[in-house]
């Protein structure tokens, strides 16, 4: 036997090394020359790039900032960025909540035995997911809400809620008496703890005797009763700030400005169509055998849905739905079309226009979205790992 020496160009390890090294070099070179070109372009064109504008006072006003108060003449650019980020997160959370509820509703309707209900759900899904979201946002905002909602003086009244062309105005509670309201919150907290203990006890009892109680109903009603009674006893420590019609619009209370309302509405409808499709796919992924087995051991329909179908369907539904949540968050950037002040609108558009610092501003915007995306993948990974452990 004679030892063979492999010619260098046929050694797979070497080949792989050379390929990777040259690719790396090529990409590094490409990135470097883009960097260099950019730097020289900036210099040549006399554009100054620096982050010093972060601490400059923003010379414009952001109209909606429920979390960080915007003070004209004090709020700086970097605070504007955070206001934008918080507004994005706000609309994302509102949208995710509503789209999930609506999506599950439509998705379950899609699998309904009732032919009409099922076809209506199909119509809903096919209509809304096959039209551009931007078109839908503008349609609702400009062609429907702005065109048909009345001005503030003729607002649509729904009890203490007022809907008009400026948005939805809601009452919000405010604290009248610090001590008493602290006590009241304490009582509510205690009653929550109480129901928690009660739920634990009732679970134990169920396990040992098989007797079950409507835990949720009992807890809910007792929390409501307890908090109402103490509220009255304490002499109403909280006031309710009801919006009042002022000179131009409603003052006081909480506000869901029309742009936010339209954006939220459109995002909810659009995303719910996708979630509904996920839910349908999840439910129909469950084999007929599972249903038959559940029936054959005598489970009622409700029990079957709760214990057999939903837990399994959710495993199919949740991962793509989490991706839809990310999509919704990214899609909220279309707010720019209706003037809601989320991060792309106040940062990548207004601030960029006013400072001209395109590089830094766009980069920060991208980093924010990449963080959202990483966070989503992180959650998805955790979920997938957990599912993998409980079922192989």
């Amino acid at each position: 036997m004679k030892s063979t020496t492999i010619p260098l160009h046929r050694n797979p390890k070497l080949r792989s090394f050379v390929v990777q090294a040259s690719l790396l070099l090529l990409v590094a070179y490409a990135l470097f020359s883009v960097y260099q070109t950019t730097v020289s372009n900036l210099e040549e064109r006399g554009i100054k790039t620096s982050t010093s504008f972060f601490d400059e006072v923003a010379p414009f006003k952001v109209g909606y900032s429920p979390f960080l108060e915007f003070k004209l003449g004090e709020t700086t650019y970097i605070e504007v960025f955070f206001i934008g980020v918080l507004n994005t997160l706000l609309v994302a959370v509102l949208g995710i909540l509503a789209a999930t509820v609506l999506g599950f509703f439509i998705g379950i309707m899609r699998t309904s035995q009732n032919w009409l209900a099922s076809k209506c759900a199909l119509f809903y899904v096919e209509t809304f997911r096959n039209m551009p979201l931007l078109l839908q946002i503008m349609f609702w905002n400009f062609a429907i809400f702005l065109a048909f909602l009345p001005p503030p003086k003729q607002s649509i009244e729904m009890g203490v809620f007022f809907l008009n062309s400026r948005g939805l105005h809601t009452p919000v509670p405010f604290i009248e008496n610090h001590l008493l309201s602290t006590i009241w919150f304490g009582v509510i907290f205690a009653s929550f703890v109480g129901t928690f203990v009660f739920a634990k006890w009732s679970k134990k009892r169920f396990e040992s005797t098989g007797k079950s109680l409507p835990v949720f109903l009992i807890s809910l009603s007792s929390i409501i009763t307890v908090s109402y009674i103490t509220f009255v006893i304490l002499g109403s420590p909280l006031g309710i700030d009801i919006p009042v019609l002022g000179k131009f619009n409603f003052k006081g209370g909480g506000q869901l400005p029309l742009p936010l309302f339209s954006l939220w509405f459109a995002l909810t409808i659009y995303t719910s169509a996708f979630i509904a499709e996920n839910v349908r796919a999840g439910i129909s992924s469950i084999s007929k055998g599972q249903v038959e087995a559940a029936r054959s051991i005598g489970l009622t329909r409700t029990q079957m849905v709760k214990m057999i179908i939903l837990p399994q369907a959710l495993r199919v539904v949740i991962p793509p739905t989490i991706s839809q949540y990310l999509n919704l968050t990214k899609n909220s950037s279309l707010a720019i079309a209706v003037g809601f002040e989320e991060v792309v609108a106040v940062w990548a558009n207004i601030s960029l226009n006013q400072t001209g610092q395109a590089l830094i501003i766009i980069a920060m915007t991208i980093v924010f979205y990449e963080c959202c995306s990483l966070f989503t993948s992180f959650i998805l990974n955790i979920y997938n790992k957990r599912v993998q452990i409980t079922e192989r």
Partner: protein
């Protein structure tokens, strides 16, 4: 096909540094291309908007025409590039266009940090407010607490913030990215007032369903000198754009119109006129242009007064006695002499 080829090479060799621009000066580049690329808004009546035949018209577009006439002797050698507010400066500094004539306010920050130069002004504007007639408002002071529609990313937004802050008043901005949307917002009741440059307000009002339902408040809260912008670092080109504009203003001052410019050229005792229409002096050569550069601009586009009358007057913004009138008639338009 040139663009497609350059696209392909550009994509393929995105990272590989190219040799610098082949042309040393903007003028040479424009001349060799055979057309002027001029950035405009494209959607503001009276300034730049397509007419029925699809041609861009307006006082901003006319400046482009005049520069093309000065460079080529042919005012039609222009390609108008509609730009958003956000893109106008990058498009200019990247060399995608040769000049911006897009109702752009001259400010220190823009001048000093964006790599651009402002020339002179083709329209001097100021920011005003428009409200519903039946709202019973007579002054901006009445707007304390109001919602105000505004186009975002403009100086308008900043002036409003300053003004309200100064007066200790409160307001809620309702920001839209285009001026058409601000109009829809106002008409739909999203805001109590709309703020923009006075000229734009007039244009917007003319586009509402019922122009008589809206009225302008008397205050003008800012200075908005609007004019063409060029890239920094090419003084010759800056001179060409600036002096074309000056020539149009001087022409009005001297009574040269597109109708009588031929006659003036043939026989004018006034040396100032002669220098403009090219019968005297070396004005064109100094700029690197032909001798009849200003003659062509005036002949084909008209003097400043004619342009104004043709484009802005129909919006309902009278000129007589306003800041946009000549200095000789109480306005502030004052062009340095062509000599």
């Amino acid at each position: 096909m040139k663009k497609i080829t350059s696209l392909l090479t550009g994509v393929a060799f995105a990272g590989i540094a190219f040799a610098n621009a082949a042309y040393a000066t903007t003028l040479e580049e424009v001349q060799s291309r055979g057309e002027l690329r001029c950035g405009v808004d494209g959607g503001v009546a009276g300034f730049s908007a397509p007419n029925d035949a699809g041609k861009m018209v307006g006082i901003d577009a006319s400046v482009c025409d005049a520069v093309a006439a000065a460079v080529f002797g042919d005012a039609s050698k222009v390609t108008y590039i509609p730009l958003t507010a956000a893109e106008r400066f990058t498009a200019l500094t990247a060399g995608e266009i040769d000049m911006v004539s897009r109702n752009t306010t001259h400010t220190l920050t823009r001048d000093a940090t964006l790599g651009v130069n402002f020339t002179y002004y083709n329209f001097i504007d100021g920011q005003g407010f428009m409200v519903a007639k039946d709202a019973g408002l007579s002054s901006v002071k009445d707007l304390d607490g109001a919602s105000i529609c505004v186009q975002t990313g403009t100086t308008t937004e900043l002036n409003m913030a300053d003004y309200f802050r100064n007066g200790g008043m409160d307001f809620t901005p309702v920001g839209y990215s285009t001026s058409v949307q601000t109009r829809e917002g106002l008409e739909g009741g999203a805001c109590d007032a709309l703020t923009s440059d006075a000229s734009q307000l007039a244009a917007i009002r003319s586009e509402t369903a019922d122009p008589n339902a809206w009225t302008m408040l008397p205050e003008i809260i800012s200075k908005e000198p609007l004019g063409p912008v060029v890239r920094q670092g090419d003084d010759q080109w800056m001179d060409i754009v600036a002096w074309t504009l000056y020539a149009l203003i001087n022409a009005e001052e001297l009574g040269i119109t597109s109708a009588n410019v031929d006659a003036m050229k043939a026989d004018s005792p006034n040396p100032s006129v002669g220098r403009i229409v090219g019968s005297e002096g070396e004005t064109g050569a100094n700029l690197g242009l032909s001798q009849d550069w200003a003659y062509n601009a005036i002949k084909q586009v008209g003097n400043y007064g004619e342009i104004y009358e043709r484009t802005v007057e129909p919006l309902g913004i009278p000129r007589a006695g306003s800041v946009n009138d000549l200095w000789t008639r109480g306005g502030i338009l004052y062009a340095p002499p062509v000599r």
